[in-house]
């Protein structure tokens, strides 16, 4: 059976070129990057070359890049580090109600410690406005953390405008850009971003490695204490092969970003139009245009997401859903509820996230299978009163 992977927001395939770049560091170049001898220095060169590549891709200086164990670690480090560092200024943090749990649960932990958190509500498309952020800022606000692009519905936030209002009031801006880096253009200097989190496995790099961009002058206490790695900003022996892989992956992603984004947006739009055109009572979740090039998220009313995924899987299509049954909790995805979807509509969501390797034929196949799946499940559903052919 044909197998089609449309869950690239969950993780992406490691690029063969990235693996090739990593291989020497998994084999003969095994030195500790902190060691002064030749073995160590060869590893060090790999780490620093990757740092330069990543800095170049983001419009940053290499000294502003801290390698971490992934997106969640970067998010936690930014939030916990910033409130600790700037506690003299106040106790207030601003975020949104569609953030990844790496931010939302970190904010809940901050609240338990006595910090005040303002969680801004998004509109029906998943957007917050710069005005909302400006209005939430008080003289006690340390930072705002607003994601660059949403992992479930793909909505891209107005980060440069939000950065502007933050800076006018002397507030730092952190952005969780895990879904955006390598997919859409980001320049931290031009956009006014103070802190940014990213993760290599979202752009065909290896899992378990990420980075935190910290603008020059922002010196956070290390969230992991130990050795002096990463200039004392993140202790622990560097994941040399992973970091080299991150560097190779970002270099490839940036080199092909324009063509990949154009190709994927066209496939995305064909998929959205095809689904909305062939299946009755379907809703597109997220913004119609301000969305990631690879994200399709729809709610198919009167049926449930996990059964849609199972049936797609039986037909070789790997997708994702925000239904309660796939989240392992009683409630469907907090993002879909934040967009104002009723529970029952959120339960019927399907996310299809395209990759570099997604083809026209794959889109045709999904457009053949998904309507059949919807029809079959609706035929079983006591809620569906529409025509069943």
């Amino acid at each position: 059976m044909k197998r089609i992977y449309l869950d690239n927001a969950a993780t992406t395939a490691l690029s063969p070129k990235v693996l090739e770049a990593m291989m020497p560091y998994l084999t003969e170049i095994y030195g500790n990057a902190s060691s002064p001898h030749w073995f160590g220095q060869e590893a060090r060169r790999g780490v620093e070359a990757a740092r330069e590549k990543l800095a170049g891709a983001l419009g940053a200086d290499p000294s502003e890049i801290v390698f971490t164990g992934g997106g969640t670690e970067s998010d936690n480090a930014a939030l916990f580090g910033a409130v600790e560092k700037y506690k003299k200024k106040g106790n207030h943090v601003i975020t949104t109600n569609v953030e990844h749990h790496a931010i939302l649960h970190a904010c809940e932990a901050l609240e338990k410690k006595g910090y005040a958190v303002t969680c801004l509500p998004v509109d029906e498309y998943g957007l917050v406005t710069p005005e909302q952020v400006a209005a939430a800022i008080t003289d006690k606000t340390i930072l705002a953390s607003v994601m660059f692009a949403n992992n479930e519905v793909g909505t891209v936030m107005p980060i440069p405008e939000i950065a502007k209002v933050c800076h006018e009031k002397g507030v730092l801006l952190h952005t969780d850009a895990v879904q955006a880096v390598g997919h859409i253009p980001i320049n931290v200097k031009e956009m006014g971003i103070d802190m940014l989190s990213l993760s290599a496995h979202k752009f065909h790099g290896p899992k378990g490695v990420g980075a935190l961009y910290l603008k020059k002058g922002i010196r956070l206490p290390s969230h992991i204490v130990g050795g002096e790695q990463e200039k004392g900003r993140r202790a622990g022996t560097e994941n040399v092969a992973g970091i080299v892989g991150l560097g190779a992956a970002i270099e490839l992603a940036v080199a092909h970003m324009r063509e990949n984004a154009a190709r994927m947006s066209a496939l995305r739009d064909r998929l959205i139009e095809g689904i909305l055109g062939t299946i009755p009572e379907v809703k597109l979740n997220g913004h119609p245009t301000k969305r990631l090039p690879n994200n399709v998220n729809v709610s198919i009313k009167y049926i449930e997401g996990e059964s849609i995924l199972l049936m797609l899987d039986m037909n070789g299509i790997a997708a994702s859903s925000g239904s309660a049954c796939t989240s392992g909790s009683l409630d469907p995805s907090h993002v879909l509820l934040a967009l104002g979807l009723p529970h029952e509509v959120a339960h019927g969501s399907v996310r299809l996230t395209l990759g570099d390797d997604t083809t026209d034929e794959d889109v045709d196949y999904v457009l053949k299978i998904l309507p059949e799946v919807a029809k079959k499940l609706r035929f079983m559903s006591p809620l569906w009163k529409g025509a069943v052919e």
Binding site: E304, E306, S307, P342, H343, M380, S381, L383
Partner: protein, 137 residues
């Protein structure tokens, strides 16, 4: 995560569909929680479940447990059907993931709700055993 049996009942549900001449119909669960089961029974004057069918909105486990529940009660006496436990459904499906056990409870409750409806339609007292573990899911 699912057994072969669950996947089989999910992809080839038994006794699925509406029944026009049912004399007992029950619906449990709610859309907000993500699962609704509707059970249709045709019970003979002798109290035998001659026919049964279901319709379900829900996850794979919800569909599979409904399907299995219909198989387990078809041809049985009403009193026996009332004894159907959720664990019997789970067992017949060769297991369910822990977070899906509530689907089997819903299947048990759907059968009971349909039997209750049957007695109510006949104006007869509802026998013991139709009480549900947690009303309305």
């Amino acid at each position: 995560m699912y057994t072969e049996k669950v996947l089989d009942h999910f992809s080839h549900p038994r006794n699925m569909g509406e029944m026009q001449d049912a004399n007992g119909v029950g619906m449990v669960g709610n859309a907000k929680c993500g699962d609704i089961m509707q059970m249709f029974l045709k019970i003979s004057d002798e109290g035998v479940i001659e026919d049964v069918s279901f319709k379900t909105f829900g996850c794979g486990a919800a569909i599979a447990t409904s399907s299995m529940a219909t198989e387990l009660i078809k041809g049985k006496k009403v009193e026996e059907a009332l004894k159907l436990s959720n664990s019997a459904v789970v067992e017949a499906l060769e297991g369910l993931p822990p977070q899906k056990i509530h689907c089997s409870v819903l299947a048990e409750e759907a059968v009971k709700a349909a039997v209750e409806d049957y007695y109510k339609r006949r104006g007869e007292p509802v026998p013991e055993g139709t009480e549900r573990k947690h009303a309305g899911h």
